[in-house]
Point group: C2
Chain length 157, copies 2
Amino acid sequence: MTNRRRRRQDVPFGWEGVEVRPYKPDTGGDGGAPFKDLSRQVLFDRSDLACQVRLFDIEPGGHSTLERHQHAHAVIVLGGRGQCLVGEQVLDLRPHDLVEVGPWEWHQFLAAADDHLAFLCIVNRDRDRPQLPTAAQLDQLSLDPAVAAFLRLGSPP
Amino acid sequence: MTNRRRRRQDVPFGWEGVEVRPYKPDTGGDGGAPFKDLSRQVLFDRSDLACQVRLFDIEPGGHSTLERHQHAHAVIVLGGRGQCLVGEQVLDLRPHDLVEVGPWEWHQFLAAADDHLAFLCIVNRDRDRPQLPTAAQLDQLSLDPAVAAFLRLGSPP
C-alpha cells in the first residue's frame, strides 16, 4: 500500500516510489571515475532536512569510486558483506556496522565476491564535489600492503 | 575490535562505544511528557555533519512521547514491529520501512505488545524543541477512531 508518509520495501533494498538510479559519480563528466555494479537510491531528500539519506547497493564483486572530499559521510551497513577503505584503513563490513568518513579521507566501498553490500550514506545536502586520486596519490596509498591489496580488488587492471 | 572509524554491534541494537541513554524528552524539565520503556543512542554526531543520527529502541508495549515540532524527522525502521502515528495516520511498521514526519505533524512511535521496535531517526543538529499536545488538541486528534485507539495504547490511563 503506497502511503505518502511511509514507504515500504517492495523488493529487498528497493522501496515503493523510490527510483533506483545508476550510480553517477559527482566528479563532473565521466572524468574516468571507476566504479562497478552499484546503484544509488535517494531515500530522503527534503528541503527542511539538512542531510540527504542515500542507499547504495553494490553487487557481488562490485565497488564504488575511490574518492575524497571536504564533506563527511555517516554510513550504516544494512545488508550483505564487504570491505571499505577509509583513510589508510581497510575494514570488513557486516550489517549494522557504523562507519565515519572524515574530511579529505580517501574512501571506497567494495562488496564481497559472493555477496552484495547495501548501506545507508548520510551526507549534507550542501556539499563539495569529490576528488579522484592522482597516480602519485595512488602510489602513496599503495605503500601499505593491505591498502594495495584492497585497491587491486577495487580497480582491477 | 574497537576502531575509530568503524563501530560494530556488540549486542543487538547496541554498538561498541555508543552510550545507551535513558530517553529524555527535549521538552524541558520532565514537563509531564509521557513515554515508556525506550532508550536512545546517538550513532553519529559530528560538527561537520548537519544532521544527527539517533537509534531509538522501544521495548514491547513501550512508546515514545506524542509531540510535534518545526523540524522534520527521517525514520528508518531497523528491527522489530510496531506502529506510529504521523499527522492523522496510524501506520504499521516493520523493518526497513521509511517514515517522514513533516513540520508540526503530531507523531508517536509504539512497539508491538510482543516485539521491540528499533529505528533510526535523522534530524537536523540545529532544531527546535518539541511541543506536547494540550487536552483540547488530544480531544481533536481522538475524533478519528483509529487515532483514538492508537492513543489509548500510547497513553494508557
